[in-house]
C-alpha cells in the first residue's frame, strides 16, 4: 500500500521536491498538500516582473491545477495548518480538516519581518511576500500617489522599481549608509544608488524609521531625526524570518529555523523540513538555488534513492530590475590576508571587484557589466589558482589565453560542469547535451527540457549563446519574434509581404515565404487565414480547416466537448418573444445551463455538437443570428438605457450601440473586439474598459479606445470628441479598420495601440479626414462579404459533415 505523504506549504521548494519525487518514485506516496495561500505553486521570484507589469501572474505559475490532478495530488488551497500531533501522526488545518501522515514535510517558508514601530498595523502598510501583497500594491498604485519602501535590499529595490513603473512617486528608506550592503561593497552600493535615482526613485540612506503616522490609514513615515515623509502606501521589505512557529509548537528542535540534518530530517524521524523555514548546518537560506538543492536532497530521502547530502555553497545575487546589471558572490569584506583587484570605468558606469585569498577568488562584485559573473563563480567554486592570469583577470574571460573578445568564445571556453543557471543548478554540459540529443532549436525548448533560465531568467543570455554555439548558423534568434516554428518571419513582415507580393492563398504564402513545414501549424494557419480574409475580402475563400474549432462550427467548445451558444441581442435589448423562443429551445434540447454574460447576452451551455444545427434553426425562426461569442471578431456592444429612459442620459446610447453593432457585426478582427456606449459620464455601460467605448456627453460623443478588463486591466484612452452620431460611427469604424489592417493576430487593441502609439492613431483617424474616410470605405467593402449569418448558412446545410459522425460501428457486436 502507498504511504501517506503530507506537505505543509506549497511554495517553490516543496513543488520542486515533488517533481523529483514523482520522477524517482511515482507511486510510492499518496500526496496531500496544505497551502495557506489560496492558489497553486508559482514562481515567487518573478513577482517583481508582475508588479512592474512585465509579466502576468499566469506566466509565472509553475504547476497549474491540471498538474495536481494529473498526479493524483490533493491540494487544499487556503488551508493553514494550525497543529501537528506527532503522536497520532496527524495535522489539522484552520478549516478543521485533519489528515494523517506516514511522512510529513514542513515547508512553511518565511514571514516578512515587520519593524515593531507605532503605526505598523495601519491600513496601507504592506509587506512584499506573495501575490496578495503584489495585488494590494497594484491597487494602491492606481491612485498614482506616493509610496515609501522601507528597506534598500534586493526585495525593497525591486518593489520600488515596480511601483515607480506603475506611476507612483517612490522613496526608498534604508537604515544603512549604502544600499544592499550585505551583497555589495560601498562603491557598488553607491553606483546602485545613482542608478536607482536615475529612474526617478528617491533614496534616503541612514534613515531610521521611528513611526508610521496616520489617522485610520497611512499618511506618512516619521524618522528618528523628526523628519516626516508623506505617503499613502508603505511597503516594508526589511527582511524575512523562517516561519518555524508551527514546528516549535509541535516540539521539534528549532533554532533560527527548523533544525534539520544534511538530509533535511528534523528531530522527529518521520518529519522533514525544507525551504526558507529550515536551518541546515547553522544556515538559513532565502535564495532559490540552495532551496532547490534542499528539494533534491529531500526527494532522494523520501524515495530512498541515492544518499544525497546538502552542502553549503555561496549563491550569486542578482537584482531583477530591468536596466540595472548587478552581480555579487561570496565574501567581499576587506581583510589582512586578502587582496583585491578593482576596475572602475566611471563614464560607462562599470565597477568590478574581485577579492582574492591565497591567489584564489573568494568573492566578487560586478556592477554595470556582469557577463563574466558565471566565469568568476566557476573559478571560485573550483578554487582555481589565478596567479597566471592575475594581470588580466579583472577584464574577464575574453582576455585570457589569447582568446578573442567574442562573447561566444567566452562561453565556449567554459567547462562542461560550469553552472549556467544558478536557480535550477543546471550546468553547461546538461544544456548543450539536451540541445544536441533532443534537437532543440529555441530558448523555450531549452527551458521546457532543462529548466535552465526558467526561473529568474537572468541567465537567458548565456543560454542563448549556448544555443548559438551548439547549433552554429542553424540558430537564428532573430530580433523579431517569429510567428511560430514554421517560419523565421514575424507577423509584421508576413502581413507586409502578403500585400507587397499579392499573396492570396495560404499555400502561396507558404511557398513564397519559404515556410519550413508542409502545411503550417495550429499557430500560423489561423493567423494567415485572418490576414487573407482581411486583406482580400472579395477574393479569398475562407479556409475553415485553418480556423480554430469555435470559429469553424460557430459555437464555443467547452471542457467536456459540448458547445455553448450565444445569440446576438443587439445592444443588449431583448423582448418577450425572444426570451420565449430561448426558453423553448432550452426545454426542447434539455440544455443544462443558461447564463447571462458580461456583454448583456444570454448563453446556453452544454449543447451537443450534433444538436447545434437544430438549435440554430429554432433560434433563427425567432429572428436570432449568431452572436459571434466565439469569434476573433466583433463580440458585443454593451449599452445603458440612455436618454430614452434615464433621467441623467444625454444621448440615445442604446440606439447608437445598436447602430454600431448592426453596422459592424460579422467582421473578423485580429482578436476579439468588445464595445460599449454609455449615455452619460456615470458610465453604466462601463465603456472605459472596452476595446472601443463611447461616453455620451451633452456636447456630443467622447470616443474611447484601448481599454482592457481581462488578463490586464486598464482604462481607455480618449481618442477625441465628436458632435454627431454619424461622425462617431465613422471614427469608430475607421479605428477598427486600422486595427484590422495593422495588428498582429491575437493582439488586442490595447496592445496594438501601445505599439503604434496613441498619437499616430489620432493623427490617422481624427486629423487626416481623407485617411479616415479611406479606412471607413475599406471596412464597408469588406462587410459586403462578411455580413452573412453563419448559423442560418449551416441550418441550410453548409458544412453538414461537421455535425454528425461519419459512421457508427461495433454496436451490434458489443450488444451480444
Amino acid at each position: 500500500m502507498s504511504e501517506k505523504l503530507v506537505i505543509i506549504g506549497n511554495g517553490m521548494a516543496p513543488g520542486r521536491m515533488l517533481e523529483h519525487l514523482l520522477e524517482a518514485a511515482p507511486d510510492r506516496y499518496v500526496v496531500t498538500i496544505f497551502n495557506a495561500e489560496p492558489r497553486v505553486n508559482y514562481d515567487r521570484i518573478m513577482l517583481s516582473p508582475v508588479l512592474s507589469g512585465e509579466k502576468a501572474f499566469e506566466e509565472i505559475v509553475i504547476h497549474g491545477d491540471g498538474w495536481y490532478i494529473k498526479h493524483g495530488i490533493t491540494l487544499y488551497k487556503g488551508h493553514r495548518i494550525v497543529a501537528i500531533d506527532r503522536n497520532a501522526k496527524t495535522v489539522t488545518s484552520d478549516h478543521g480538516v485533519t489528515e494523517s501522515y506516514d511522512r510529513l514535510v514542513i515547508a512553511t517558508g518565511s514571514v516578512p519581518f515587520i519593524i515593531p514601530v507605532p503605526g505598523k498595523d495601519l491600513p496601507g502598510v504592506l509587506s512584499y511576500r506573495d501575490l496578495d501583497d503584489v495585488n494590494a500594491m497594484l491597487l494602491a498604485a492606481q491612485s498614482r500617489a506616493t509610496a515609501i519602501v522601507i528597506g534598500g535590499g534586493l526585495l525593497g529595490l525591486e518593489a520600488a522599481a515596480g511601483l515607480k513603473e506603475r506611476g507612483m512617486d517612490v522613496t526608498v528608506l534604508h537604515v544603512m549608509p549604502t544600499l544592499m550592503e550585505r551583497q555589495l561593497d560601498p562603491a557598488a552600493g553607491y553606483l546602485l544608488q545613482k542608478a536607482v535615482e536615475a529612474r526617478g526613485i528617491k533614496v534616503m540612506t541612514k534613515a531610521n524609521t521611528k513611526a508610521i503616522v496616520g489617522n485610520g490609514k497611512v499618511e506618512g513615515v516619521e524618522l528618528t531625526d523628526g523628519t516626516i515623509i508623506p505617503a499613502t502606501l508603505v511597503v516594508m521589505a526589511v527582511g524575512i524570518r523562517p516561519n518555524s512557529a508551527l514546528a516549535k509548537d509541535a516540539g521539534l528542535e528549532v533554532n533560527r529555523g527548523i533544525v534539520v540534518d544534511d538530509r533535511m530530517r528534523t528531530s522527529d524521524p518521520a518529519i522533514m523540513a525544507l525551504g526558507e523555514c529550515a536551518e541546515v548546518g547553522g544556515h538559513v537560506y532565502g535564495l532559490v538555488a540552495p532551496l532547490y538543492e534542499m528539494a533534491r536532497v529531500a526527494a532522494a530521502g523520501l524515495a530512498d534513492g541515492e544518499d544525497r547530502r546538502f552542502v553549503h555553497s555561496d549563491t550569486p545575487t542578482k537584482l531583477k530590475v530591468t536596466g540595472i546589471d548587478l552581480y555579487s558572490l561570496g565574501d567581499f569584506a576587506d581583510g589582512e590576508d586578502r587582496e583585491e583587484i578593482i576596475l572602475r570605468d566611471a563614464s560607462a558606469g562599470i565597477y568590478k571587484r574581485v577579492v582574492l585569498q591565497d591567489n584564489r577568488i573568494i568573492g566578487t562584485v560586478l556592477f554595470g557589466e556582469t557577463a563574466d559573473g558565471a566565469w568568476f563563480n566557476d573559478l571560485k567554486k573550483k578554487a582555481t589558482d589565478i596567479s597566471e592570469m592575475r594581470d588580466t583577470l579583472i577584464f574577464g574571460q575574453a582576455f585570457q589565453g589569447g582568446a578573442s573578445s567574442d562573447p561566444l568564445a567566452a562561453v565556449a571556453a567554459l567547462a562542461d560542469d560550469a553552472e549556467i543557471c544558478g536557480c535550477n543548478g543546471v550546468c553547461k554540459g546538461k544544456i548543450t547535451g539536451a540541445i544536441t540529443a533532443k534537437g532543440l532549436t529555441a530558448l523555450d525548448d531549452v527551458r521546457a527540457h532543462t529548466k535552465a533560465s526558467a526561473s529568474c531568467g537572468s541567465c537567458t543570455g548565456l543560454v542563448e549563446q549556448l544555443l548559438k554555439l551548439t547549433l552554429g548558423d542553424a540558430y537564428n534568434p532573430a530580433a523579431v519574434q517569429p510567428m511560430c516554428g514554421c517560419t523565421s518571419l514575424g507577423h509584421d513582415d508576413v502581413r507586409r509581404l502578403i500585400k507587397a507580393k499579392g499573396l492570396k492563398t495560404i499555400p502561396a504564402i507558404m511557398q513564397e515565404l519559404e515556410w519550413k513545414t508542409s502545411c503550417g501549424c495550429a499557430k500560423c494557419r489561423p493567423a494567415l487565414n485572418y490576414y487573407l480574409v482581411c486583406d482580400w475580402p472579395d477574393q479569398y475563400a475562407d479556409d475553415y480547416q485553418s480556423r480554430f474549432i469555435n470559429e469553424r462550427v460557430h459555437a464555443n467548445i467547452q471542457k467536456d466537448g459540448t458547445y455553448s451558444v450565444v445569440p446576438r441581442m443587439w445592444g443588449g435589448v431583448t423582448s418577450a418573444g425572444e426570451l420565449r423562443a430561448i426558453a423553448d429551445v432550452v426545454d426542447k434540447f434539455e440544455i443544462p445551463m443558461v447564463k447571462v454574460t458580461g456583454g448583456q447576452r444570454i448563453d446556453m451551455l452544454g449543447i451537443r455538437k450534433e444538436d447545434l444545427p437544430a438549435v440554430w434553426a429554432d433560434l433563427g425562426k425567432a429572428g436570432f443570428v449568431s452572436g459571434h461569442a466565439y469569434a476573433k471578431g466583433l463580440r458585443t456592444v454593451k449599452t445603458c438605457v440612455g436618454s430614452d429612459w434615464c433621467r441623467f442620459g444625454t444621448q440615445d446610447s442604446t440606439g447608437l450601440g445598436i447602430r454600431i453593432e448592426k453596422f459592424m457585426w460579422g467582421s473578423w478582427t485580429p482578436a476579439k473586439v468588445k464595445m460599449a456606449v454609455s449615455g452619460c459620464p456615470r458610465n453604466c455601460a462601463e465603456a472605459t474598459c472596452k476595446d472601443v467605448g463611447v461616453v455620451c456627453v451633452d456636447s456630443g460623443y467622447e470616443i474611447h479606445f484601448a481599454g482592457a478588463a481581462g488578463l490586464d486591466i486598464r482604462g481607455t484612452e480618449v481618442l477625441g470628441l465628436v458632435k454627431t452620431e454619424d461622425e462617431a460611427l465613422e471614427v469608430i469604424v475607421a479605428l477598427v479598420q486600422m486595427y484590422r489592417e495593422q495588428a498582429r493576430y491575437l493582439e488586442r487593441i490595447y496592445k496594438w495601440a501601445k505599439r503604434i502609439g496613441t498619437a499616430e492613431i489620432k493623427k490617422q483617424i481624427l486629423d487626416d479626414v481623407e485617411k479616415r474616410r479611406a479606412y471607413f470605405e475599406r471596412f464597408v467593402f469588406s462587410q459586403k462579404f462578411a455580413q452573412v449569418d453563419p448559423w442560418s448558412e449551416r441550418v441550410s446545410g453548409k458544412d453538414k459533415h461537421e455535425f454528425r459522425p461519419m459512421a457508427s460501428v461495433g454496436f451490434a457486436e458489443a450488444a451480444e
Partner: protein, 109 residues
C-alpha cells in the same frame, strides 16, 4: 483481422477529421493534406479533449482545449508534453476506408 467499412475518403475534408461512433467512445479519423488517413481515439491524453475538433497540420493534430500536439502516426504527444493515445489501423481501398474493428472488440472483452 476484420476490416469494418466506415465510409469514403471524400467524407473527410482535407486537413480535417470526422468521428466514428463505437460502443467504447468516439474514434477520430483524420485526412491529411496529402490524403493520408489515420484513426486514433478521440480523446486527448492531457484532459480528454476531442482531438477530432483540432487543427490538422502535417501528420499531427493540435487539441482544441489546451493545444497539445498529438502525432497521428504514433498517437504520442509531441514537443515537451508526454502522453499517448491509442491508434487504430486504417486501410484504404480505392476511395473506401476501413478500420480494424477487432482492436476495439478485444479491448471491450
Amino acid at each position: 483481422m476484420t476490416w469494418t467499412p466506415i465510409g469514403s475518403l471524400s467524407d473527410i475534408p482535407p486537413r480535417g477529421a470526422r468521428c466514428v461512433a463505437t460502443p467504447q467512445g468516439k474514434i477520430a479519423v483524420f485526412r491529411t493534406a496529402d490524403d493520408q488517413v489515420y484513426a486514433i481515439d478521440d480523446h486527448c491524453p492531457h484532459k480528454g479533449g476531442p482531438l477530432s475538433q483540432g487543427i490538422v497540420h502535417g501528420a499531427a493534430v493540435t487539441c482544441p482545449l489546451h493545444n497539445w500536439v498529438v502525432s497521428l502516426e504514433t498517437g504520442k504527444a509531441l514537443g515537451a508534453d508526454e502522453g499517448s493515445v491509442r491508434t487504430i489501423p486504417v486501410r484504404i481501398e480505392g476511395e473506401q476506408l476501413f478500420i480494424a474493428l477487432e482492436a476495439l472488440v478485444s479491448k471491450a472483452a
